[in-house]
C-alpha cells in the first residue's frame, strides 16, 4: 500500500530549481510518453512537477455533449490510461501532477482518479479540482466582446454548447500550496499548468511580470509535449531527428530568477536544439511582443537561446507586461454537418478521370438543388494547399501523377444533406468514370468555436480538495 503524503516539495517558497516535465501535448498524444519523463524527474531528485495537457478547443465541447448524455462523464477519456502507469511513482516520490483533463467535468475526473488510486493501492490521495471556467450559468455571457480575429461574432439566438474562460495559474498554485497530489482543471491557459507549480514553489508575486513571463514562455514551450523535443520537426536530409519513434517528452529546469533550460529524459529519441526550441517558441503566437495570457502579457522579442550541452537549450530574456483586464473565452456552437467521400483513380489518364468524377458529383448535386457548401480535391495533385474554390488546382496544368484520390467535402445544415452529398460519391462506383475504386465516406456533426473576451471580475475560479474517503 502507498500512503500519499502532502506535496510539500513544491509548496515551500524556495530558491532551489524546479523541474517540470510534460507528459502529454494534446488529447490523442502517445500514452507511453509520461513514463520516461517521470523516471527522469525522480532520478534527478529535487522538487519537480508533471503536466499533462489534453484539452483542445473542440475537445471541451465534445466533452460537454458527452456529459449531457452521461452526467458522470465529460472528462478526458484517456485519463486513466495516462495515469495508471505513473500515478504510484509520482505519489511515492512527491511529484504532483497538473492536468486539464477535467474538460467539462473536473470533479468527475477527480473522482475517477480517486477510484483508480484505490485499485492501485494508493490511499490518502489529495485531488484538487479547479473549476469556475464554465461561464454559461454565471451571466458573464452577456458581457462578452468578440475577439477581433473573429470579426463581429454574435451569440444571439444560438444554442451555446460550451462557454469556458481560460483560467490562469493562481488557482493551480493555490491547490498545490494546499498539498494536492493532483490538480485537475477544465479550461485553463496551457502554460498555466507549468506556471502554477512555479508560483507555488518560488513564491513569485502576482505582479512580478518578468518572472511570470519567463514561466509562461517555459510553459508555452512545454505545453505541446514533443513539439519542442523533435516532434513535428523531422524533414529528412534537412532536419533529421534521432529515433523519432521514441521521442522523449520535455523537461524544463526553472531557476528562481526565471532562467531556464529545456531538456528531455536521457536515453530517449528526439532532440533539443535551438531549432526545435525556436519553432515551438513561436507556435500559435501572433505578435511576439504581446502574447496575451491570463497571468501576464509575454514579450519574446528579447529571448535568446544557447545550446548548453547535448539536448540542453538555455532560454533567457523573456519580458512581461501587466496581465490583461479581460480573459479569453471559447464558446462552442452547433456547426452543422460535414460529409466527406473519397475515391481513387490510378494509372494512365488518372487525373482526367478523377477530375471528371468531381464534375459529375457537382453537376448531380446542382441538378438536385443541393443547398450546402462543397469542395473537391485531387489528393496527389492539389489538396491541402488550395482554397475551397479550387483556384490553385485550376492553375495547375501539369499532367498529374498516376495515383490520385478524389475527395469531395460538403458542409451542410442538416444530416440529410450531408448524406445526399456522400451518396453521389458512393454512386461513382458504378456510374462514374472508368476504374474508380476504394470509396470511403464519413459524416460527422460539427461544433463551431468562437473566441470572446470576458471582464476578469466576472470570472470566479474555485479550488476544491477531494479527499480519499478510505
Amino acid at each position: 500500500m502507498i500512503v500519499a503524503g502532502r506535496q510539500l516539495s513544491v509548496m515551500t517558497s524556495s530558491c532551489s530549481p524546479l523541474r517540470i516535465g510534460c507528459g502529454s501535448g494534446f488529447s490523442g498524444d502517445r500514452l507511453d510518453a509520461p513514463g520516461p519523463v517521470v523516471e527522469a524527474l525522480i532520478a534527478a531528485g529535487g522538487p519537480s512537477a508533471l503536466m499533462l495537457e489534453v484539452l483542445g478547443e473542440r475537445t471541451l465541447a465534445l466533452a460537454q455533449r458527452e456529459r449531457r448524455l452521461a452526467p458522470d462523464r465529460g472528462y478526458e477519456p484517456a485519463l486513466e490510461a495516462l495515469l495508471r502507469p505513473i500515478l504510484a511513482r509520482c505519489v511515492t516520490h512527491g511529484v504532483p501532477i497538473i492536468t486539464n483533463a477535467g474538460a467539462a467535468n473536473p470533479e468527475g475526473a477527480g473522482r475517477t482518479v480517486l477510484r483508480l488510486a484505490r485499485t492501485l493501492g494508493i490511499t490518502g490521495l489529495r485531488v484538487a479540482v479547479v473549476d469556475g471556467d464554465d461561464i454559461r450559468e454565471t451571466g458573464a455571457l452577456d458581457g462578452l466582446t468578440a475577439w477581433e480575429g473573429d470579426g463581429r461574432a454574435t451569440l444571439a439566438g444560438q444554442e451555446v454548447i460550451a462557454a469556458n474562460v481560460y483560467l490562469g495559474a493562481a488557482p493551480i498554485a493555490a491547490a498545490l500550496r494546499q498539498g494536492a497530489n493532483l490538480v485537475i482543471t477544465g479550461r485553463a491557459a496551457d502554460p498555466a499548468l507549468a506556471l502554477g507549480p512555479m508560483i507555488a514553489h518560488f513564491g513569485w508575486a502576482e505582479d512580478d511580470w518578468d518572472r511570470l513571463a519567463a514561466g509562461v514562455a517555459c510553459g508555452h514551450l512545454l505545453e505541446c509535449g514533443s513539439q519542442v523535443t523533435g516532434g513535428y520537426f523531422a524533414d529528412p536530409g534537412f532536419k533529421d531527428v534521432p529515433d523519432p519513434h521514441d521521442i522523449g517528452f520535455p523537461i524544463a529546469e526553472m531557476a528562481a530568477d526565471g532562467n531556464f533550460v529545456i531538456t528531455k529524459p536521457p536515453g530517449t529519441g528526439g532532440l533539443v536544439d535551438p531549432r526545435t526550441v525556436k519553432e515551438q517558441l513561436l507556435y500559435e503566437i501572433h505578435d511576439p511582443a504581446a502574447y496575451l495570457t491570463p497571468d501576464v502579457v509575454l514579450d519574446i522579442t528579447g529571448v535568446e537561446l544557447a545550446q548548453e550541452g547535448p539536448d540542453r537549450v538555455r532560454v533567457r530574456g523573456a519580458r512581461g507586461g501587466a496581465r490583461p483586464e479581460r480573459l479569453k473565452a471559447t464558446v462552442s456552437l452547433p456547426g452543422g454537418w460535414l460529409g466527406e467521400g473519397e475515391i481513387s483513380y490510378a494509372g494512365p489518364n488518372a487525373r482526367a478521370r478523377a477530375a471528371l468524377a468531381g464534375r459529375i458529383v457537382r453537376d448531380r448535386l446542382r441538378a438536385q438543388g443541393f443547398g450546402g457548401r462543397i469542395r473537391a480535391d485531387l489528393i496527389g495533385v492539389v489538396s491541402v494547399f488550395g482554397d475551397d474554390d479550387g483556384a490553385l488546382l485550376a492553375a495547375d496544368t501539369l499532367d498529374g501523377p498516376e495515383d490520385i484520390r478524389l475527395r469531395v467535402a460538403a458542409a451542410t445544415e442538416t444530416k440529410a444533406e450531408a448524406e445526399q452529398a456522400v451518396r453521389e460519391v458512393l454512386s461513382l462506383y458504378c456510374c462514374g468514370p472508368a476504374g474508380g475504386g476504394g470509396v470511403r465516406t464519413r459524416i460527422v456533426d460539427r461544433i463551431r468555436t468562437l473566441s470572446f473576451m470576458v471582464p476578469r471580475d466576472r470570472v470566479h475560479p474555485r479550488v476544491r480538495m477531494l479527499e480519499d474517503a478510505a
Binding site: 480575429g149 525556436k278 513561436l282 535568446e304 462543397i374 489538396s383 491541402v384 463551431r448 468555436t449 473566441s451
Partner: protein, 125 residues
C-alpha cells in the same frame, strides 16, 4: 547580376505553422544567421501575400525576430472557417508552412554552391 541563382526557401530556412480561429501564423527561421538579412529583403509581406493570393488573406503582417534569426508571418482570414469549420482536409493550415518554404529566393551562386553553408544540413546528406 549574373552571380545569383534561384533556390527554394526550403534550402535556407525551416518553418512551423500554427492557427487561432481563421488566423494563421508561420514562423520562419534561417538555418544560418548570415542568410537572415537576405531573407529579410526577399521574403516580404507583399511576396507572402502574393504567394497565398488564392486564399485571399485579409492582411499579412511580418514580425522580425533578429535574435532568433527568424520572422513571424501572420495571415488573417485564410483558413475558411478554421479547424472546426473548414472544408479543407487540413483545417488547421498546419501544412502551409511548407507552402511558404516553396517560395523562390535569389542567393549568390557561391553560397548555393556550398550547399551545407546555406542549409545548415546536419548528419548525412
Amino acid at each position: 547580376m549574373s552571380g545569383l541563382v534561384t533556390v527554394k526557401l526550403h534550402r535556407l530556412a525551416h518553418a512551423r505553422a500554427g492557427d487561432k480561429g481563421n488566423r494563421l501564423n508561420i514562423a520562419l527561421f534561417a538555418y544560418r544567421p548570415e542568410t537572415w538579412p537576405l531573407l529579410a529583403e526577399q521574403v516580404t509581406e507583399d511576396r507572402v501575400a502574393a504567394l497565398f493570393a488564392d486564399r485571399r488573406p485579409a492582411w499579412v503582417r511580418r514580425y522580425d525576430l533578429p535574435l532568433l534569426h527568424g520572422f513571424n508571418f501572420v495571415l488573417d482570414d485564410v483558413l475558411q472557417g478554421g479547424v472546426n469549420g473548414a472544408l479543407n482536409l487540413d483545417g488547421h493550415g498546419k501544412t502551409l508552412s511548407f507552402r511558404l518554404l516553396g517560395l523562390d529566393v535569389r542567393v549568390p551562386a557561391a553560397m548555393a554552391a556550398g550547399d551545407e553553408s546555406i542549409t545548415g544540413r546536419t548528419g548525412k546528406a
